[in-house]
């Protein structure tokens, strides 16, 4: 029978949302599989998250150690290799922690590795068929993963339907004593909080958000004009911040700000999942992009295939004339 372990990150004793998404993924891997939650950490926070997870999981393994107080991927990996059964399937989130932990975990467990699964189509013998995306979401692929010696699979957060927190009545198993040597050549120092910018994009009902399609720094003024006419503010996707054209505080996405506007105007943004992950509250999304195949058109409410550098000034003029 397939044994699946679900690694659950937590903050201050609260499990992250992925905890409710693992069960759907596990069911797609093998409906008869045993699904066990795994949490690492230290002290009261660890006890709290482990107890909370018994509502969703029949079995919850907790691994407590001072060295696990901050989730350093290098240290967590050592603990998991020592505690988890070889040959099992390990699930982790495809987020900044999971990306740190998982490739090396697969090597140390001598198992297959598939990153960023967006769907799972099921097991055929020992071959698991998984759906991923490549090229920034422009195309999808099916991959087969040989699970005969186990697998580590990271799931895209939000890709699997969350279950309701139930009354699983699970039990917590303390495996702290099996964690082994947790020394590491990488030591956590501190978190440097994001700088607060001049404009708070999280407070605006309407965002004019620009991406690569803006082409040049000087063209940002065109977006500012439209934003002014719409009483909106300008936000952006990652490449604009990488190019240092706007401050990091203007970036929408998992590595930037989470916004909840009423209307989101995606101007020249391709629509990577990291970008869309920063848009919450189901806003009305307008996408303008000259590439008709841009992934943003799959998630937007309204799409317009045009060059934003020509479209935005015309829209600005029209709005001003109202």
């Amino acid at each position: 029978m397939t044994q699946i372990f679900a690694y659950i990150p937590h903050h201050g004793g609260i499990a992250t949302d992925i905890a409710l998404e693992y069960p759907a993924a596990a069911k797609k891997i093998d409906a008869a599989a045993t699904l066990t939650a795994v949490v690492t950490g230290e002290g009261a926070d660890l006890d709290k998250v482990a107890d909370g997870l018994t509502a969703t999981y029949k079995e919850v393994i907790k691994i407590g150690n001072q060295a696990l107080a901050y989730p350093n991927g290098e240290v967590v990996r050592k603990a998991l290799v020592n505690v988890l059964d070889p040959g099992s399937i390990v699930l982790a989130p495809n987020d900044t922690f999971g990306m740190d932990l998982s490739p090396g975990l697969a090597i140390k467990m001598d198992s297959a590795y598939v990153a960023d699964a967006v769907d799972i189509e099921g097991m055929d013998g020992s071959l698991l068929k998984i759906v991923r995306q490549e090229l920034g979401g422009a195309v999808s692929t099916h991959v087969t993963c040989d699970t005969s010696k186990g697998a580590v699979i990271t799931l895209r957060p939000g890709a699997f339907a969350p279950i309701e927190t139930g009354a699983a009545g699970g039990t917590v198993v303390d495996k702290s004593s099996e964690a082994g040597d947790l020394t590491s050549k990488r030591r956590f120092i501190e978190i440097v909080e994001a700088e607060v910018g001049d404009v708070d994009i999280t407070k605006s009902d309407v965002l004019v958000s620009i991406g690569r399609g803006i082409e040049e720094e000087d063209n940002i003024e065109i977006a500012e004009e439209l934003a002014k006419a719409l009483k909106a503010v300008v936000s952006c996707s990652r490449p604009i911040v990488d190019a240092k054209w706007l401050e990091k505080s203007r970036q929408v996405g998992t590595s930037g700000q989470t916004v909840k506007p009423k209307v989101y105007m995606a101007m020249g943004i391709s629509g990577s999942f990291q970008h869309m992950g920063g848009i919450k509250g189901n806003p009305f999304i307008v996408a303008v992009n000259k590439n008709p195949k841009a992934p943003i058109f799959q998630v937007a409410d309204v799409g317009i295939v045009q060059d934003i550098l020509e479209f935005m000034p015309e829209l600005t003029e029209k709005v001003k004339s109202l």
Partner: protein, 262 residues
């Protein structure tokens, strides 16, 4: 500091509209434009800046066919001192673990203080750096957006984590880091720069020369195999507005009014 940067030749997402072939199971590869993986340019730039400050050399390496030589030359035009092409028919179809094993063999032949990769490439897996580090038992940090070189035994690295925050770590050398975009501003490479390195010899090493474990390379040994490419049917998608720009704008404005945008 001796630095190795692992780079990859990939289809350029900014220059291509990806279409499937007529069979509908692979990309239409006829007119694809290739370039260096975007993340790798940041890794090479970072390596060059470190060497400019503390001395040493930058070597760029890639696993690929003879066409991959062009990306090595491009990074050498940026300022990397050496290039190495790892190429062999036996490498074809390798999964991430296979590619990592090939790179590991090359890394073991040198004496590097720092091994850099891009945080991810065209396949979006972000797996090579972490795998190489685990194979070599070196410490690893992913998504690095800041490097402070210290006393030569350790460095400080910032990792980009959720919400725009940065996780600072101290890490012992030698180590493996995956580099996130935005860590620096990669320098421009002009035609003159490319010409300068056009005739520099780039050594090519195959499986035998590297002594790669044959048990993990090639399509037969890959645990993870791509079956096909497809474009998913995600329901209706956006309502596409068509017609003259004027008509589109009139429709859009009505919609914005009803949704609270105006």
């Amino acid at each position: 500091m001796e630095i190795l940067v692992c780079v990859k030749r990939v289809p350029d997402t900014a220059e291509n509209e990806f279409e499937l072939n007529s069979a509908g199971n692979d990309l239409d590869r006829d007119d694809l434009v290739f370039s260096v993986n975007e993340w790798d340019n940041y890794a090479v730039e970072e390596a060059i800046q470190i060497v400019d400050n503390v001395g040493g050399s930058v070597t760029v390496v890639t696993v690929g066919d003879e066409e991959s030589e062009e990306v090595l030359r491009r990074e050498m035009a940026m300022g990397a001192n050496n290039g190495v092409l790892l190429s062999d028919d036996a490498f074809e179809g390798s999964d991430g673990r296979g590619i990592a094993a090939i790179l590991k063999s090359e890394i073991e032949k040198g004496s590097y203080d720092l091994i850099l990769t891009g945080a991810q490439a065209d396949e979006g897996a972000g797996q090579i750096g972490g795998m190489v580090a685990a194979m070599l038992d070196l410490p690893y940090a992913s998504l690095v957006n800041k490097i402070e070189v210290g006393d030569g035994k350790t460095i400080k690295v910032g990792r980009e984590i959720e919400g725009g925050n940065q996780e600072m770590n101290e890490i012992e050398l030698p180590c493996v880091l995956s580099i996130q975009t935005g860590i620096n501003e990669p320098r421009y490479v002009g035609i003159r720069g490319i010409r300068k390195v056009a005739s520099v010899e780039i050594p090519v090493r195959g499986a035998a020369a590297l002594g790669v474990d044959p048990g993990v390379i090639g399509k037969d040994k890959a645990k993870v195999k791509r079956v096909d490419y497809f474009v998913p049917d995600l329901g209706e998608g956006a309502e596409m507005l068509e017609g003259s720009t004027e008509e589109i704008i009139d429709t859009l404005i009505e919609k914005l009014k009803s949704k609270g945008g105006l």
